[in-house]
């Protein structure tokens, strides 16, 4: 079993790991020939399945992988990986490889940083050091080289250990819409959550606009022991997104309009199927008709963690499955057409 590669776009890699680590520390990293997959399935809250083409974060030329099962499955603390990747900032070369030390598997990150030094690390010494040993205390301007090695403990997962892990299956979405800028969405969401948290204990989590629909609880999971405020997020097929929170004391809502409801890829779907999609039915409902809205209730804090992926400035398509789940397809910049670099977030809706 071998894995070795040079890194490129370490900023992207670092931001990716930072976003992932907000959801959970234990990450299943699957190295394949063309793609690298990162999966985090926390005990509670949102799970994320990411698929990144090798060339997005690794240097394809140097990417080497050897395994009996055509893939290497690693369990890694993604927060630790993220911390280690900080050493790569400004580095002239960074290499990641699978290795072993005392029978412990490791992911070793080796970084060479060269930076131009103005010739002295001295603070106030101006006197000439010429004639001194040329190894020590060189005052001349030169490239300064530093090697950094980060050895991250990992667990190698056997193929059989990951066989049972699959992405969740979801019904076709009722509404799919491109989210507005995540920075804005996050700051508003966070403010709503904070407002509702201040009156914790009394907040009812009841929805602002709608009477609780009869279909509530149909397929929604009940992690309702969580007392954190629940945001209500809803959207329709006419480019509108609504973020709302309601407690006994307050009801607030923000509405975005003019957003895009992206068309589905016609390659994957026939015309006949297309017309039967729930989203097409929803599109048929009038803009002002509440029944044209699909909504989910999500945990404010969990949502905030999900939105931390905004640091990658991605495009995000949100798929609403009414009262059941919200699936986010997060496309990294540069991969919009290829659709290869994609993080998929599965967020369950809470029942009222």
């Amino acid at each position: 079993m071998r894995f070795r590669t040079h890194l490129k776009n370490t900023r992207t890699f670092s931001k990716l790991t930072a976003s992932l680590s907000s959801l959970g520390k234990v990450c299943w990293m699957r190295l394949e020939y063309d793609v690298v997959r990162f999966t985090i399935i926390p005990d509670q809250g949102t799970q994320v399945w990411a698929q990144i083409p090798v060339s997005t974060i690794f240097d394809e030329e140097s990417y080497q992988i050897e395994s009996n099962s055509d893939a290497i499955n690693i369990e890694i603390n993604v927060a630790v990986l993220n911390r280690a990747l900080r050493s790569t900032f400004g580095a002239s070369s960074s290499q990641l490889r699978l290795t072993k030390k005392d029978k412990m598997p490791l992911l070793a990150l080796t970084v060479l940083t060269t930076e131009w030094t103005e010739g002295n690390m001295a603070l106030a010494t101006d006197e000439e050091q010429s004639g001194q040993s040329d190894v020590v205390g060189d005052r001349r301007a030169r490239e300064r080289e530093t090697w950094i090695t980060q050895e991250i403990p990992i667990k190698i997962l056997h193929e059989s250990a990951v066989e049972g892990l699959h992405e969740p299956h979801c019904p076709d979405p009722d509404v799919h819409i491109i989210l507005p800028g995540l920075a804005q969405l996050k700051s508003i969401s966070d403010r709503f959550t904070k407002l509702a948290s201040t009156e914790k204990g009394r907040q009812a989590g009841v929805v602002a606009n709608d009477a609780p629909s009869a279909s509530a609880g149909a397929g929604a999971t009940a992690l309702s022991t969580n007392s954190a405020p629940k945001l209500e997020l809803s959207a329709n097929m006419h480019g509108k997104l609504r973020l709302a929170i309601a407690t006994d004391e307050l009801r607030i809502a923000s509405v975005w309009s003019g957003l895009v409801n992206p068309p589905l890829d016609p390659a994957h779907i026939t015309q006949e199927q297309y017309s039967q999609l729930p989203s097409e039915r929803m599109r048929g409902v009038g803009d002002n008709d509440e029944s044209g809205w699909a909504k989910v209730r999500i945990d404010g804090k969990d949502w905030s963690r999900v939105l931390s992926v905004g640091r990658l400035s991605p495009k995000v398509v949100a798929c609403f499955i009414n009262e059941m789940a919200l699936v986010l397809y997060v496309y990294l910049p540069g991969s919009w057409n290829g659709e290869e670099s994609c993080l998929t977030y599965y967020i369950n809706s809470f029942t009222t």
Binding site: N77, R83, R86, D102, L123, V135, G137, R144, T146, I148
Partner: protein
């Protein structure tokens, strides 16, 4: 009766605050010692593995400084010895006085700080008065309680340090920034043109929680990045990373280049720098034993002069022979070089274990204990009882000097603290005179049964203590404590 009055200009006030912050990373209390021409602030950490000291010079650091002492009267609370006065104060309270005092944007910014301390046996209260003379005629006064203290200094002989480097704190900080926040130890060694800093953690982990194992980070810097570096190749020396961080952080604020001096593992390391009339010195105990999995395997190669370097320090013998009643101060002593002199304390019940052969049942102690693969080391390292090599023998053990003088070789406080100076004294001399035991003799031959019995008795307590601290302390620091608890 002694009195101390001093005043500080705002820049010095900021410096003092920085110093106190740095000291607070070592201990809860600061020891204050006043002498005629200097004021020393120091702190010793709870495990007694790190000692931080700042000496502020009268002429440079202070606006005014006056210290008077009348020797003829015994002091009431704080201690006056010779021509010194010393006491200790809780850092938390002292820090709160200085926090945020120099804000030039405010009308009421501090313009001067006066401190006064009067010790009078007639007074029952021990008070340090601090007055902040602020703008607009505002004067803020604080009265802090101080406590008497027996103050000790780590002894470190710069002249004997064989390894030395000097570096810009910003450069050191760049190195530190690569380390994981949870890393506990820092290993330093050099290999050809590189100086390698490795952070590691000696936490004992459950085998299943692989992902919680600490990350090892090593940073190999070009030796030319140091202003000066003269260190033995491949000799690993490990210190507490937290201490190192504290020193570097403060050196950076003081804009002073840091010099490190040391001899070998398990001997103290000193980090020192000067700035604006302040001399900062940090004496930190080092670890030498680097577990095979935590560091490059070169640790054994690193000791080319095993036979000489591993002669035990005289203090270890001396301490074992010190009658118990005479040792109230020896509990302040740091441990001897660990692998060997600690041996008799590790739960063995028979006298034979005190014999040097017992060392061999712990072969894993790599760098300090003998390298049994080496051709040059006999299986029975009886040589540890040999006569000291003149050059190696007065090693720079982390000893304690209550006299408070930087350079003195003769303690002067015999009257005030009869026990300790004697011990400190013996430790810095060849052992022949003081020990009463010819160094060529085996321990088993000298120890009286009664004394052995006493050691055994305390061992059971010792073991309990060891197990209770096992998780928090690295092995080396554990041995530090063991010495304290046994004696």
């Amino acid at each position: 009766m002694s009195s101390l009055t001093l005043s500080l200009a705002p820049p010095a006030l900021v410096r003092l605050h920085d110093v106190l912050i740095c000291l607070s990373k070592f201990s809860d209390t600061v020891a204050i010692e006043a002498e005629h021409d200097l004021l020393r602030l120091s702190a010793l950490n709870s495990t007694k593995t790190a000692f931080a000291s700042f000496v502020c010079e009268k002429e440079v650091f202070f606006e005014t400084y006056a210290f008077n002492v009348r020797k003829d009267i015994r002091s009431s609370s704080g201690s006056t010895a010779g021509d010194r006065f010393y006491c200790q104060i809780l850092l938390k309270t002292l820090l709160s006085v200085f926090r945020g005092r120099v804000d030039r944007n405010k009308d009421t910014a501090v313009e001067r700080c006066d401190m006064e301390l009067q010790e009078d046996p007639q007074e029952t209260e021990c008070r340090l008065t601090i007055k902040m003379i602020c703008g607009l005629g505002v004067i803020k006064s604080y009265k802090l309680t101080y406590e008497p203290a027996s103050i000790q200094h780590a002894v470190f002989d710069k002249g004997r340090a064989t390894n030395q480097w000097t570096a810009d704190p910003r450069f050191l900080k760049q190195i530190i920034e690569h380390f994981s926040l949870s890393a506990e130890q820092l290993d330093i060694y050099s290999d050809s043109g590189k100086a390698v800093f490795t952070s590691f953690t000696t936490k004992i982990m459950d085998g299943k929680e692989v992902l919680k194992y600490p990350v090892h980070t090593s940073v190999a810097a070009d030796k030319r990045d140091f202003e000066e570096i003269q260190i033995e190749d491949n000799m690993h020396i490990a210190i507490n990373l937290k201490d190192f961080k504290a020193v570097v952080a403060h050196a950076e604020t003081a804009n002073a280049t840091v010099t490190a001096r040391y001899t070998q593992p398990c001997k103290p390391l000193q980090l020192a720098y000067d700035f604006e009339g302040v001399n900062a010195e940090f004496t930190i105990m080092t670890r030498g034993e680097v577990e095979g999995e935590t560091a490059p395997a070169s640790s054994r190669v690193g000791m080319p002069q095993l036979s000489q370097r591993h002669t035990p320090a005289p203090i270890s013998l001396n301490r074992m022979n010190t009658p118990r009643g005479a040792t109230p101060n020896t509990q302040m002593l740091p441990p001897p070089p660990r692998s060997r002199s600690i041996r008799p304390l590790n739960g063995s019940s028979t006298q034979e274990h005190l014999a040097p052969t017992a060392v061999s049942d712990r072969p894993s102690a790599s760098s300090v204990s003998m390298d049994y693969d080496s051709l040059f080391v006999p299986a029975d390292d009886d040589r540890q009882w040999d006569e000291m090599d003149e050059q190696e023998e007065p090693q720079d053990i982390l000893g304690w000097d209550a006299s408070g003088r930087q350079d003195n070789s003769e303690p002067t406080l015999q009257e005030a603290e009869p026990d300790f100076p004697k011990i400190a004294d013996t430790r810095r001399r060849p052992p022949k005179d003081e020990m009463g035991v010819p160094p060529t003799q085996r321990m088993s031959q000298v120890w009286e049964p009664s004394r052995v019995g006493r050691v055994q008795l305390t061992l059971s307590r010792f073991e309990g203590l060891v197990s209770s601290i096992e998780n928090v302390s690295s092995q080396c620091f554990r041995s530090f404590r063991s010495v304290r608890s046994v004696y």
